[in-house]
């Protein structure tokens, strides 16, 4: 019983998609750990909302290879994310940075809420008049 439960738990703990191939593992465990974190922070540019860690597409594999190449060259994590952003734009980052250009998108919900509240307040207050 215990064994069966363990087997089920083990199965459940397996990642749903394991796109990173065994051959991609880096020899240095510290670099491998950084690589895996970076794979999760970079979006597969031809997929929808999927980090390169989870994609089997050629481009995702190419970006993972590039991450490893930069790590071996001694780049910092931030430098690697910058390297990718220079080439693929903000969209390559799973968490795109906020900029003046995109500020409207970020604040739109808040603005809409304030406007909505304003309108509701006005309508309610306006009733007696």
């Amino acid at each position: 019983m215990m064994l069966r439960l363990l087997a089920v738990l083990l199965l459940l703990s397996m990642p749903a998609s394991a796109a990173v191939q065994p051959g991609e593992r880096m020899a240095d465990p510290a670099l491998e750990a950084r690589a895996e974190t970076l794979y999760m922070q970079l979006r597969c540019v031809v997929c929808q909302s999927q980090p390169i860690a989870h994609s089997d597409s050629e481009i995702a594999a190419a970006l993972r290879a590039a991450v490893r190449e930069r790590l071996l060259k001694g780049d910092s994590d931030a430098a690697i994310l910058d390297y990718m952003r220079e080439r693929y734009g903000d969209a390559v980052l799973m968490k795109p940075p906020m900029r003046t250009r995109t500020g409207l998108l970020w604040f739109m919900p808040l603005l809409a809420l304030i406007m909505g509240g304003f309108i509701v307040a006005r309508t309610l207050r306006g009733k007696p008049a």
């Binding site: 031809v46 481009i59 190419a62 290879a65 590039a66 409207l104 739109m108 304003f118 006005r122």
Partner: protein
């Protein structure tokens, strides 16, 4: 009318959003000869960034497994009769490339073997084929997807002919 003014605010905001989106789209893709980026540093078997000289040249990413690459190959060959074309074979196998180029002809001055795709990433490639025009150490034009007769005539030749 004044009382209805607040109701207009969401519409005004929406219009602003549309304008902002339009600007973002126009800013993102421009065809004329600007410096899009520096020619990236890369080094793969057969080709590196330092091989690419100052005069105008074409850099063509291709792969034997890519159908549209075969489709544009005759045009690449035509361009190679007059201009320098470098090829970068993206995530391919040497024996596949051999077969592909034996069958279709080899228009490339030099071919880089980008087996794991690092050069593709360095150039910001998202799919096959992708073609660049470079000059004076800069990328001045790119197209994602196959070139066509029309694109060669209207976009590439004017840039390649210009001094």
């Amino acid at each position: 009318v004044r009382k209805n003014l607040p109701y207009l605010i969401p519409f005004v905001l929406f219009a602003l959003l549309v304008v902002a989106a339009a600007f973002a789209m126009i800013g993102g893709k421009s065809v004329p000869a600007n410096r899009l980026a520096d020619v990236p540093a890369f080094e793969i078997p057969g080709l590196s960034g330092s091989d690419i000289g100052q005069e105008a040249a074409i850099v063509n990413f291709f792969a034997s497994w890519c159908g549209p690459c075969q489709g544009e190959h005759p045009l690449i060959k035509q361009l190679a009769e007059k201009y320098t074309v470098y090829g970068i074979d993206f995530m391919d196998k040497p024996e596949w490339r051999e077969k592909y180029l034996t069958q279709l002809g080899n228009p490339y001055k030099k071919i880089g073997d980008d087996a794991d795709g690092v050069a593709g990433a360095a150039w910001g490639v998202v799919g096959m084929p992708t073609t660049f025009i470079v000059q004076d150490g800069a990328i001045i034009w790119r197209i994602d997807g196959p070139v066509t007769d029309e694109i060669v005539k209207s976009q590439m030749l004017p840039l390649l002919e210009a001094k």
